[in-house]
Assembly symmetry: C3
Homo-oligomer: 361 residues x 3
Amino acid sequence: MVNTLPPSGLRLNSKGLILDPRQLLSASDKQIDFARLETLAGQSLVQIRDLDHETIVQVCKFAALLELTQIARHRPLAGKLIITAFFEASTRTRLSFESAAARLDARVLSVPDGKVTGVAKGESLADIGEMFNSYGDIVIMRHPRVSAIEEIRSNLILPLLNAGNGTDEHPTQALLDWYCLFKWRPELMSGALAPDRRLHLGVIGTPANMRAVRSFLLLALMQPHAVAKISLLSEDARPLDASLEAAVAASEVPLELVDANLDEVLPEFDAVYMNSIALLGGSYQELDQRYALRADSPFRKDAVVLHPLARKAELDVSLDDTAHNLYFAQAAGAVYLRQALLISMLGAIDRVPAGVQYLAS
Amino acid sequence: MVNTLPPSGLRLNSKGLILDPRQLLSASDKQIDFARLETLAGQSLVQIRDLDHETIVQVCKFAALLELTQIARHRPLAGKLIITAFFEASTRTRLSFESAAARLDARVLSVPDGKVTGVAKGESLADIGEMFNSYGDIVIMRHPRVSAIEEIRSNLILPLLNAGNGTDEHPTQALLDWYCLFKWRPELMSGALAPDRRLHLGVIGTPANMRAVRSFLLLALMQPHAVAKISLLSEDARPLDASLEAAVAASEVPLELVDANLDEVLPEFDAVYMNSIALLGGSYQELDQRYALRADSPFRKDAVVLHPLARKAELDVSLDDTAHNLYFAQAAGAVYLRQALLISMLGAIDRVPAGVQYLAS
Amino acid sequence: MVNTLPPSGLRLNSKGLILDPRQLLSASDKQIDFARLETLAGQSLVQIRDLDHETIVQVCKFAALLELTQIARHRPLAGKLIITAFFEASTRTRLSFESAAARLDARVLSVPDGKVTGVAKGESLADIGEMFNSYGDIVIMRHPRVSAIEEIRSNLILPLLNAGNGTDEHPTQALLDWYCLFKWRPELMSGALAPDRRLHLGVIGTPANMRAVRSFLLLALMQPHAVAKISLLSEDARPLDASLEAAVAASEVPLELVDANLDEVLPEFDAVYMNSIALLGGSYQELDQRYALRADSPFRKDAVVLHPLARKAELDVSLDDTAHNLYFAQAAGAVYLRQALLISMLGAIDRVPAGVQYLAS
């Protein structure tokens, strides 16, 4: 069935691995559980643990369907108004959401920069949330403060999609990271993967103050059936805060802190997750140069690298042309993963044509 | 008839009074005079006195209809292009207009910030007006200079909607203020209200350098049948300029300047209008702290507070949960009032389906 | 046939010459060669010489058809996503492209300012190009560096439309300049114009560091059948760089450097092209005041002035009300010229209704 899906929806990245979403759908033994996706309607997504594992799998399968088919032509978000409120500047995440929305025919109210808002004059996020209630249907917010979520929700009636709150979480980034891993190895979605097929993940960075790394790690810890072990390399003596330590303690996935040169342990990893920039007391700090990856780094033959981008020197461009480059494919899937979330959260699953739903069954 | 209107169009604010637009339509003895609204096609709206009272009433009734029905689904502004030119930063007003436009399927060309325009390089507003002629169908402009209106109109062929020009006017704010008061007490629209039912308005601020207060006051002065008296409290020794003094002199509504503590006179007011920020010689000045309102201020039992927001300390958040809070409902109606204006000014009244027009008759 | 075209598509400028696109279509002895326009699908437009002369003529004829008809109502760019990436601030060019796109029902992802992008954090244009691959269907880029084109194309799969790269080129500006000249004198499109009807062009500025002047000049040099002579006035001792000198040497159009007061040679010119601002080592430099044009400058009776705007003192507003003012008409045609390019490059020629194509035949 999947072979009959039109290839016209396929968009390719310019270098590195090209992933085919059909494998994700083929490997999955069950059809997409749209009823489960419908439970997301009207809900907020603030942290990765707002979703259970089965829902995450369904979101990823729906994203694959969106990547493969022309659902966008049916304008499932026509008449919907999406507010992108980026009080911390971003282009990659904001444009990805706005592209996702526009292709589904939603309208976007864009706040690309806190400096042009009442916030600059001292307006509270609670008042801004109240303002948004009558202006749109969902709010996608990025903010440099962890507490911004709580503040805006004091008045906000609309669903809220957290696109990064300070050093806390960036859940849609983690979802698209794993959507990419699932396309790369669909067997990871299965609940019955042989232990020797599970991943040894190398995570480079400081989850305590890097929100993308935190959310990725939290989602990894939810998947003992897919992750054999996590090795964490950080320049920080205490890379986990109390909340993360609790999550590690509660998970069946073993996590070890590694105090070694990256090149010594790199050959053990199936997949490496790294990030560039840590928020530290309101300013940005780049990753230590000794954690840099290059084309000649001692990778396992089929190992892959994920990186949320933008990058600094830690991810050398010499890697781009190698088969270790999964980060371009990771970025290329972002729009579809976010479309799957927007359609679900905006209660528009029923606008996905039955024929397309059938294709996925 | 009104009872059969679908409630699905109703959007609620999170706190304070919730207003039902049906009461405005029910109380009104006449159907909406669409022919009168059609006279706005192609016209500009620069100051509140560009509209007569009867037209203002019809605009508010049309706004109520928009709030109650699904007219937006008929895409009355499809193919129309709206330019929002905010040479003075604003989020609240700009997003409100852009939300209004997007929900009616208009397209928006957004200039959120004068700093990214040719203005920053010294381009004249006359030249920018000429540029806009070929780029859109209407211009919504905010500018820190009073004279900006005159400057851009020297070449502008398109209709112009003034969203605030320096210390002068902000007419759509005044219209949405009164749209809210009409929803709160529909009898105010009537020409035959008993004198003891007319409002005693307390206005806190300096109309001479606060454009929202100026436009609100000018519209209040046009309504002797609805306003018994206006008490004006200002920290400024001369809160009215010559133009406002002439408007007061020409009106049947008595206006008194009050030099007292707010709490002494507050029990007399049916409705209080206040604002945060005065433009004073190009910089902003906050309202004096002695004019602050709180939940325990000595309000008349059913008195309401209007405020165009954003706010500073003068409007304490303790008021939000009280029945005096009309400002959240005021903000929630902004989108509909602006839709009514845009549809009328863009000559799209005839795209409102006849069935919906009939509902309103 | 052309007389039956609906005039409703005609938009007028406020002052100066009003041009009728019908004359351009009437004068042209051949119908629009849509097959030739279809060859632009998926192509980039980086420099004026990416197009041959015959294609440029067809683009201009298509622009005239767009200006005259209601093609926009057929939503030829519905479902297309256009990225406007302006790493150097601009309003005029960006809004012109966004207006062009919106009227054809395309969606726009707008990057109005490099400061809100990852570029500000040091992200490479190559990585940004890779990001754009999955976000849209075409990229319109302006950048202060000449090399930006090469940098972004290292990863970019999408077609690229150059909206100005440093001191190099601004090809769509040159196309709309000549679209305006063709509307003014349709005979210029003909390959068989008598020598004494060809234009003597006066070009004021420094093509070596003014990209609009460079592209205009390069297109002029491609048209010996329309241009008798070019006189170049510049405050710079060497206004042509090696690349431009080569283009002059390869052209049949004679070009002379004039070291005289403008008023002495102005009476010889049929058309004057001037610009305001030169990029010089990363900063802007205004045109020398001795090159100013005013209403009382000694123009030939029917001479016209083109200027890409915005302007400084070199183009006095006293000219606006004269018949020498072709620059307002030039600006008014920009949207249609850019629509013709976008429809062609996005492969949407086949969405232009056959009836409209027939009208043009």
